[in-house]
């Protein structure tokens, strides 16, 4: 990416005005993958001077993660390590190396909507909304479905405080590689949530399986197998150079079974999988 001018606004209003002033103007979050783009932008909007976008705050009913919070800060946060068995920090800890996680922000990762994102998957399985400067509050699923992506500034990721358990699995070939498939499962008083990512497209919920699981009085082998079959039927998997659709299907079934058994058997602090 070629940047003609790097601007550092000090308020969200100023940043949004700049963003919408020219079609090529673009927000620079962590900036880790600027080199991957061949675009030329008139104004790169550096959000690092807007302090309200940084940090993790625990409030009465929610946990707010500022969009410019780095992945390392989330990985180390003690509150998030306890939230739904810590699936968000555990998913983040498996992304590349420490150096990159010190640079990358959660907002930049979300707004990029990468198919291989290890963050979109757990967020889809958690009670999560996104707060934008212009659009206000969107559910994470609404954001994923928004095409084309509206020019806006993500302010915060808002996690509703609830008691729940979680399980996350990332399947990859090497420590530094992207996921072949990732899967997040959660269970709370509202029922089950199941999200599958790196399909290789962006993560999606397996809604039919979620509804079915949430209606069952007990979670036995028959129920778990039926839920896995429903997920395989409704979640669209595909081929890419990392893996075939058939391999992804086998992984989805395997880790969904393991995840559901895991949620059925463990206490809330032992949920996530490395």
């Amino acid at each position: 990416m070629n940047i003609d001018n790097l601007v550092k606004p000090t308020s969200l209003t100023e940043a949004y005005k700049l963003l919408t002033a020219d079609q090529s103007n673009t927000v620079i979050a962590g900036g880790a993958w600027l080199k991957m783009s061949k675009r030329t932008i008139k104004n790169g909007i550096d959000l690092t001077a807007i302090n309200s976008l940084k940090g993790i705050k625990e409030e009465a009913d929610v946990i707010r993660i500022g969009s410019m919070t780095t992945l390392s800060e989330i990985e180390r946060d003690e509150t998030l390590k306890q939230y739904y068995s810590g699936i968000l920090p555990q998913a983040i800890a498996q992304i590349m190396g420490v150096g990159l996680r010190n640079l990358v922000t959660i907002g930049g990762n979300i707004m990029s909507k990468h198919g291989f994102s290890d963050i979109a998957t757990p967020l889809l399985a958690l009670p999560c909304t996104l707060e934008f400067h212009h659009q206000g509050i969107l559910s994470f699923a609404e954001f994923i479905e928004q095409k084309p992506l509206k020019k806006d500034i993500l302010k915060a990721i808002i996690l509703e405080k609830q008691d729940g358990r979680g399980y996350f699995k990332k399947v990859k070939k090497t420590a530094l590689d992207f996921a072949i498939l990732n899967l997040a499962l959660t269970k709370d008083e509202n029922g089950f949530a199941l999200a599958i990512g790196s399909r290789p497209s962006i993560a999606m919920n397996a809604k039919e399986a979620e509804t079915y699981l949430s209606q069952q009085p007990i979670l036995n082998d028959t129920v778990i197998k039926k839920a896995a079959t429903m997920a395989l039927k409704h979640v669209k998997l595909g081929d890419n150079p990392r893996a075939s659709k058939a391999y992804r299907s086998a992984l989805l079934e395997t880790y969904m079974l393991r995840g559901l058994h895991h949620l059925n058997q463990t206490n809330p602090q032992e949920g996530a999988s490395k």
Partner: protein, 149 residues
């Protein structure tokens, strides 16, 4: 113009707005941050920004204004001591990845308590080494940290 502390000295550089730190440093003959993948995957361009490791190939130089930038020259004694342990364990062949690894080990030693093999591996993940296979490096780092207690 950008001004930052480089290995203990305040330096100012004229830069392009979209310039990356590795380009600024290497243009001014600070060449220990190596150019490897140039896409954040290999770790050979690692520098410390306010004592935290980051890939200089992906960091806009304009963003380090008023910050503290450390390359391996800024931790010379620490790196020399570590390299002796790398030699003893046979963890050093071509040496291309060593400056980046030394900086990450330095940051780990500053940040982490109770460092075990898993902690060392956690910090080594971001560093590609095509010679050693990481086992000898893990042993060397562990012995080095034991020796410093």
């Amino acid at each position: 113009m950008v001004t930052f502390e480089l290995n203990g000295q305040i330096k100012s550089f004229h830069i392009d707005q979209g310039e990356f730190l590795i380009d600024t440093l290497r243009r001014h003959h600070v060449v220990s941050p190596r150019r490897g993948c140039d896409t954040t995957s290999c770790g050979v361009c690692t520098v410390l920004i306010d004592d935290q490791p980051m890939p200089s190939c992906a960091l806009l130089t304009a963003r380090v204004n008023d910050k503290k930038v450390t390359t391996v020259e800024g931790i010379a004694d620490f790196a020399a001591e570590l390299s002796a342990y790398f030699g003893k364990e046979g963890a050093d062949q071509c040496g291309f990845c060593n400056p980046g690894i030394a900086l990450s080990v330095y940051a780990m030693a500053q940040t982490e308590e109770n460092i075990d093999d898993d902690t060392i591996r956690h910090y080594l993940v971001g560093h590609l080494c095509r010679c050693s296979g990481y086992v000898s490096q893990t042993k060397a780092i562990k012995a080095f940290l034991e020796g410093r207690k």
